[in-house]
Structures are given as C-alpha cells and as structure tokens.
Symmetry: C2
Subunit: 355 residues, 2 copies
C-alpha cells in the first residue's frame, strides 16, 4: 500500500500548500503560503520538516516570488529572488537539501535572466521547482526499489524520527523500501523511536505507517538498545540531513546512540537518502549542527515538564561516523563499505581526499 | 548544600506522608495515606518511585496496618499484615528493595508474634519501618562520602532518571556524591537525561539539583551519546533497581543505551545504590522487567502525542551487563571490577557461582 497521505508540499496556482505537521497526529490540516516569508516560517517552525521536503518547499518558496513579484524587469526580479534565497538559507542550517534546492532554482533563474525577459525567469523558476518536487518522488521510488531488497517476510525493522512521506514530497526515503516491500506482498513490522524532543517518530512515522496499514510499535528513544536485544531487530533504517563524501551521516539527534546500539548487537543499519543529501565539498568541521530553542525540551506540546531556570542543550542533529554504518541506500543503488570508495564511484569523484 | 527538599516519605502519627512526585516540578505537594491500599496505589501510580523510597514506603505501609488494625489478637494482626504484605509485593515487580523491606518488617513482626501480644507486634513493625527509613538516609550519606571521591572540581557529571533525594527517603543515591562533593566545596555541573517516558530526569532530577543550587543542564535521552562526544563528560552515575551477584544492573530504561555510549567514549560509569538493592539469589532469567501501560508513551502529562491504534512497547527498566560498568558505589565502599569478586567479598558469599 502506498502512503495514505497527499503530497507534503505542492504548488497550487499562486500558493504553496503544506501539510501542517505540527498538528499531527491529531489533525490532518494544511497551511497555505502566498509569500516567501510564510514559507520560511513554515520551515523554521517545522510545519514542514525533513531534509527533502524542506528542499522542495524552499524551491516552491522561490516559485512564489517569481509568480508574485511586482518587479517589471529581469534585474528587479532577480534581486527579489536573491533576497528570498538568502531568507530561505537562514531557516535551517544543517539540511543540505535546502541549499542544494535553492541553488538549483537560482541557477535556473540566472540562466534565464540572460534573456532579459522576466517572464522567462518566472517560467524557469517555476518549472525548476516543479522538477525538484517531481524528481524527489521519482528518487524515493527508486530508493524504494533498491531498499526493498533488504526487507524479508517476518522481519522487524527499526527507525528513528520521520524519514517518511511527510519528510519528502511524497513516498519518503526510509519509508520507501517499507512501502515498496509491503506492496510486493512482504509482511513485517516496524518499531518507531518516538524521537524527542519534537516526537516525529510518535507523531509522524507511527501515524503514516498506521494510516497505510503497516504494523508499527512505538518505543521511547531510551528503549532502543534494550528492544534490539530483547525483541530482536533485523534491520535499522535511518534518514539523513547531510552526508559527507567519507560517509559521515548527520541525522536527527539520537541516530548516533542508535548506531552504537546497532553495532553492539550486530544489526545492519543503513542511512536512506537521495543523492541530493550528499555534501561532497564539506568536511566535518564545516558542518554546523543546529541548536534549537530550549522550550522544545522543557515543554511537550505546550505542557511544561521541567523546572524554570535550568540550562538546556538541544542539538537537533548528531553525527554518525561512517564505520558504524552498514551502507547507504540511494536512488542510484545501495552503497556499501568502504563508503568513501562507493560514494566516490557513485558521484564520479576522486577518492584521494575522500577519507 | 544538602537537598532542598524534606523527606520523601515519613510516618506522622497514624498517616504516611509522601511528596507527590507526579505533581513535580510544577508543585510541591503531599499525599497522606491512612491505609495500606492508599500506600500501594501511591507506589503503583508513581506518587512515590525510586527503589529505596519504594522500600521505605512499603515498610511504612505495614506500619499503618499495625497502627490501624482492628484485630485484637496477635494472630488476627499477623493475618492483616500478611495480606498487606501480599498487596504491597504486587505493586512493582522489579525493585528488589520493595521485597527486601517487606521481608524485614514481616520478619520483625513474626519474631514479635511469638509473644502473643499484638502490642508487641505493633511496636516491632513500627520501629522496624522507622529503622529502614533511618538506615536509608545513613546509607545514602555513606554512599555520598565514598562517591564524592570520584568528583573533582570542573567536572561534568551525567545521570539518567532520578536517583536523587526523591528516589530515597532523603539525600539520594546518585545525588549523594553530588550533594556531598558540593558540600566539600567542589564546583562542577550535572547533565540530566530527561528520561522518557515518565520524565523523572526533567521533572525530578533537574528540579532537586536546581533547588539545591547545583548547575544542571537538561538533554533528551537520544542526545546522550552526542553530548558525551561533543561536550565532554567526565563521569556517569546511574541508580539501580536491582543488582545481581555478578554485577548485572537493572535500572531505568535508557541506562543500557547510556552504558553503551559510555563504553564507546571511555567515560567511567558507576551504578550507585545501597546494598539493599542487591539480589544475591536471582539470576537474569528470574528477573521480570516491568512493562507499564502504553499511555505513558502515547501521552505526556495528559497530552496525546501519538495516533490511536498503534502498538506500544513500554519496558520500565533495562539490564546493563556488568562488563559495561566501571564499578558500583555502595554505602560499604566502591566495588570495582571484577564485580563478581568484589560483590562476593562485600557480602561475604562464595564466588563459585558468582559469574
């Protein structure tokens, strides 16, 4: 069964329509944005989240500017687009797909600006944004075809956070092999880590898998290692917000703990992500891990759970070194160890500085 | 500075007075019990929790029966006490201190019952319960004296759950070295894991350390491994609900994950517990890990965070194998590796079946 949900983000005439992920699992409702500031805030407040979904949403944010800009000439429109791109880049620093998607759309705009025709820039921006969204869905289905081979009847698959249809335009990354294997008639179950502080596992992954009729069991994050040992877990699939050329994976906080538990119990663990998640230029020291506001930890859905006046450390992501991973599932296939080598081959780059 | 809180549990005339830990950190209020059913429910609903506090509370529950029983003869009173003991043993299966405390009080009652005088049984039960509570505070101070030697100026100490004054009659187990070292003038900081699902770290540990003026930083459980790597943690102290003769530690869910992270980064990790927490007779297959209701995971403080209809696995505790521990801090001193040997020596038992 495919996802029971519509596209996470879509362009409808002059507005971007987003599933409001802050309202899930209680309500399925939508946020409509008519300007880029609304889109930027939707990213910042996690109305939309998940690296690929953020990328497509940012691209659509630029499309909104192209559609709505009152600039009558190409230069004015390009300035509006550059300002919007700068605003969007400031929303979330870790997800590389954001920068990648903004760059793609701006590249298309710059190419078209040579014509001096604002209409041509508009068309180029809108169609590049649409292409990014379409390609995301295509990439996820290809990820699903490759990744479904890892899943067998009777397995227990564990995942953290939500790298589901809700983290992408549609179909998901981690969930792509799950939806695809289920479609192929394989029967298995999924264990979802709730994923504090924002509870994407409890609120989104449990919701979308349950809606699709796939059995899902929810656990708290601290129960992961114990559950692996006591219940038996056959496969762990995690998303990625950024992957470096040596295979270093930045993903939701808790992924590194989970990878250590996987290693301790010999459970295969794959990061599942489209190639747009790869950052081949940066090294670890270049990557800034976003720290979010303390209230995400000290309150849950508006209810205070900690005393006033204490300190909070709230990194949104963590870093998992490549040696802890079994491989990386991409739309181009499954990359196995040594990751620095298989990544270099997949991207056709030199291996000399790759590890 | 000592704990800023009164005793977690005390006997006041004909009632047991408990700090209501379900109301923290919002409010410091008290629950008063006049019968054993009220005490049993307070344990089940986690008004009082923490292995040593549960033990003392159960002992006081028996004291209430002794004080309030309408039985006029020794045999009737003993029957009332046996029924109350059976009720109390059913409350929480993992905390060994519960069974230990009930056995101690019932042993005192049985000895006194030889006299045939119900008054003598009453006196024996009440004074044994008082002794258990007093000894708990004494043991914690001794734990503090031994454990404070592990703490140096400038250190960062990490802990999970609440093994604080609130988990004991007073002073705590994990917090005993912390309060003691702070009293000695050492200055350091504590990182508390929030400890889902019941959030004892956020609600109780952060609360009691902050109330005592000790700097505390709160993190989500999934951030533990990342925080150890990125921030540097010098010492990890965890409590225990049951310790076997080979050094296997049963403690709050998440402890095993934390121990794996400690091992990966070479951070010393000690379980801190009084000798009443040791279960020298059981093996791992004898220990039942309590599974609690799904609502602890699917709701937070009454707010729903997961969809209806999904499965939940909610073990309250996990098992940490002895090889992951650096040692165990008890009121008798610090037991180092090999734990099967140091435990055997501390308890004066044979080592032949100890490992």
């Amino acid at each position: 069964m495919p996802p029971a949900l519509p596209w996470t983000v879509r362009l409808e005439d002059d507005k971007v329509v987003l599933i409001d992920q802050t309202a899930l699992p209680g309500q399925l409702r939508f946020v409509e944005c008519r300007d880029v500031e609304c889109v930027a805030r939707a990213i910042e407040t996690m109305v939309v989240r998940g690296a690929p979904a953020i990328g497509a949403t940012a691209a659509y944010g630029l499309a909104l500017v192209a559609i709505a800009s009152s600039s009558m000439d190409a230069r004015g429109l390009m300035e509006d687009l550059e300002a919007a791109a700068a605003r969007l880049r400031r929303t979330r620093p870790t997800a590389v797909n954001l920068f990648w998607a903004v760059e793609r759309v701006m590249g298309a705009a710059r190419s078209a600006s040579g014509s001096g025709d604002p209409e041509e820039i508009r068309r180029a921006v809108v169609s590049e944004a649409e292409r990014i969204a379409q390609e995301d869905v295509e990439a996820n289905k290809a990820i699903g075809r490759h990744g479904a081979e890892l899943i067998e009847d009777g397995m227990t698959v564990m995942t953290i956070c939500n790298a589901g249809t809700l983290a992408t335009v549609w179909y998901g990354t981690v969930t792509a092999p799950i939806y695809m294997a289920w479609d192929e008639g394989k029967r298995f179950s999924v264990i979802a880590l709730e994923t504090r502080p924002v509870l994407q596992g409890a609120r989104l992954t449990a919701y979308e898998l349950h809606a699709a009729g796939i059995p899902v069991t929810l656990i708290v994050d601290g129960a992961a290692a114990h559950t692996i040992r006591e219940k038996g877990v056959d496969l762990i699939l995690v998303g990625a917000d950024r992957i470096l050329r040596d295979g270093t994976v930045y993903n939701k906080i808790g992924t590194y703990s989970l990878a250590l538990a996987a290693r301790a119990h010999g459970v295969p663990i794959f990061s599942v992500a489209p190639t747009s998640t790869f950052d081949l230029k940066s090294s670890r020291s270049d990557v800034r891990i976003e720290e979010r506001r303390p209230e995400e930890v000290t309150t849950v859905r508006g209810v205070r759970i900690a005393p006033e006046g204490i300190d909070v450390y709230n990194p949104a992501f963590d870093m998992t070194p490549p040696h802890l991973l079994t491989g990386i599932v991409t739309e181009k296939g499954i990359l196995y160890q040594p990751l620095w080598l298989t990544i270099a081959r997949a991207f056709n780059i030199s291996t000399t500085a790759g590890h």
